[in-house]
């Protein structure tokens, strides 16, 4: 009897050690993943210019691509406007839109504009109105590579398409040599990485390939990767980690992941006078070249992927906040408008570039602000 009790105690103790060490391990793991992309910049003097709305409890959810920007905005707004609680859950765009359409959130963040059938559905939640897309956060999708000894790699859309479609298999392929006459390209085989989960990043990256190199990219596009071959990893952090550790790798992810892990990124030969590097400024220039395709107060954008504008980086992603144009819930309307107004303001947009996002170009930001003011 005594013996069994003792062993029981001992196993408990051992179990406790196991659980706690496991917790420590997981903590390390999650630390690693979010890593240095955690919010930091832009927090300082923004508070002064925030116009607070009435106190409310704002629930929102959606795009993970916006998460770091949202974290900073939410923190600044809540510091300036005590009494308002904002909770943005980065659940993914699909889940965010679903929750918004069920009426459980004040607004959603999404990597893609509402589909026609989703707009129809939104009429049930927005009494007398419908859901509208407000472009809010842009960002360059960087193409990172791991090729020791090769800096300043330049590629164009057809070459990228062929690499990610496994048509170009080694780094010393003539097509790559032609774009990089001075680089010492090894004969290493190319390990192209894509996302294993569905994501707006994949959607935008393949839209670019299709838009800029239609004859080399035959897939229809969408959130799921469709081309054959290549390897995959979950989340941008997973792709970045694989590119970082695999010799001969190439992969696509938001710029912040490349900066955080020190991964060199490809310059894109767009046909402009010089190849364009993935930077926030260059992405803003590409967004300025976009057309508004939304109707009414909807501001959905269509990027011009084949843009030849000087210094415009064409692989760019625009994410939206989605709210009702009319028929927002009365108790959260004022706070939603105040928060979104701050987000779209110059102060709100200014802090973005330090985190690898691209601020909205002035012309579009103005339209977004006037639409936000008209929400009811």
């Amino acid at each position: 009897m005594k013996l069994t009790r003792k062993t029981g105690l001992r196993s408990l103790a051992v179990g406790a050690i196991a659980v706690s060490s496991a917790l420590v391990l997981t903590a390390c793991g999650s630390d690693n993943n979010s890593g240095s992309s955690s919010p930091s910049g832009g927090a300082s003097n923004a508070a002064a210019s925030i116009k607070c709305g009435s106190k409310a409890n704002l629930l929102a959810s959606g795009s993970t691509a916006q998460k770091n920007a949202m974290d900073v905005w939410v923190k600044n707004y809540m510091q300036a406007c005590s009494g308002t609680q904002i909770n943005y859950k980065p659940t993914g765009s699909g889940a965010g839109v679903t929750e918004f359409l069920q009426g459980s959130t004040a607004f959603a963040g999404s990597d893609s504009a509402l589909k026609p059938e989703e707009i129809t559905k939104s009429k049930a939640v927005c009494k007398g109105g419908e859901g509208v897309d407000l472009p809010m956060v842009g960002g360059p999708i960087a193409v990172g590579y791991n090729l020791p000894g090769v800096d300043n790699l330049v590629l164009d859309a057809p070459t990228l398409a062929k690499i990610f479609d496994s048509k170009i298999k080694t780094w010393d392929d003539p097509a790559i040599k032609k774009l990089n006459p001075n680089a010492k390209l090894p004969s290493t085989s190319i390990q192209a990485f894509h996302r294993s989960d569905e994501s707006g990043t994949t959607d935008n990256f393949t839209k670019y390939l299709k838009g800029a190199a239609p004859s080399d990219w035959s897939y229809s596009g969408g959130k799921a990767w469709q081309a054959q071959g290549g390897q995959s990893a979950p989340q941008s952090s997973g792709v970045a980690a694989q590119v970082k550790q695999t010799n001969g790798a190439i992969g696509y992810f938001e710029l912040s992941y490349a900066t955080a892990s020190n991964i060199p990124t490809v310059k894109i030969d767009t046909g402009a006078s010089a190849p364009v590097a993935a930077t926030s400024d260059a992405a803003s220039k590409a967004i300025a070249d976009a057309k508004i395709v939304g109707t009414g107060s909807d501001l959905a954008l269509k990027l011009n992927y084949a843009t030849k504008a000087e210094g415009a980086y064409p692989i760019t992603l625009v994410t939206y906040e989605i709210a009702c144009d009319k028929g927002n819930k009365p108790d959260t309307l004022d706070a939603t408008k105040a928060f979104l107004n701050y987000v779209a303001s110059d102060d709100g947009q200014k802090g973005l570039s330090s985190q690898g996002y691209a601020p909205l170009p002035a012309e579009i930001a103005t339209k977004v602000r006037s639409t936000i003011s008209s929400l009811s």
Binding site: S11, E118, Q191, Q231
Partner: protein
Amino acid sequence: MDIVSTSGEHPPPSRQPAATRLGDRVFLGLSRGSGILLLVIMAAIAVFLTVRAIHAISLDHSNFFTTYEWNASLNPPSFGIAVLAYGTLVSSLIAMLIAVPISVGIALFITHYAPRRLASPLAYLVDLLAAVPSIVYGLWGGLYLVPHLQGLNLWLNDYLSWTGVFHKSDPNSAARSLFTVGILLAIMIVPIITNVTREVFRQVPKAHEEAALALGATRWEVVRMSVLPFARSGIISASMLGLGRALGETMAVATVLSASPVLTQRLLDPVGGTFAQNIAAKFAEADNFGRDALIASGLVLFVITLLVNGAARLIIARRREYSGAAL
């Protein structure tokens, strides 16, 4: 004589007074309720899965069972489970091939070979492994196991590529394959199988072993003649428990496997997918329809698990004559 006649005239005495007492009735109700609750939950899961799944499958633009790709968000949607079913079964099979012999070995060592002072710490250690969350296995697998398996992969490719199974299409690609997943799953299910098997080995009647020893058997012969036959059904049950975890494992697979819709017998290629991994990867960005489609794949996994368990039950039933558990 007297006893026989009374028990023939009256209903079994143990039953009647038991049913009349309050405590017994409450207990009967509670245990019956628990049993019914289990059935209700199972039925509810099955109905939920079936209803949502049928809706999704009816709108699938391609054959649900033979299509490789999973593109539920396309218009028209086109998705299928061929790669997922193959990947799930193959990775679990690899895991079982590795884990079952090792687990039985560990359990035998702990119960029959190891000195007492070594046996109990070893047993704790194995149980400890079962407490590690699967995401930790996933991180370890992705950051440590994958790079370190590259050498084994190249060796297999060099010497065994003639089998077709161990041919690696691109020797430079990382070892993020179904083969690696199988090894990782094996490590994850060893503690479960070991734990249950160990308990079964402890149940072997001392008399059986002593009888074998008395007949002049060596230790190995004792194990072979009295321990293993007695424990066979227990080992199968333990393996099924482990298989259940391997079939449904999500995070570790999603972290390690390079998923893509390619079905190949080349186990070292970084391609493939499993049901649970696919659900984890696609769920966050899926709309309502996409979720229904994923639920349909969940239903298939549910059915596969039922079939595998049913097959195990059959095996146990056929082996019952050897087993003391049937008594």
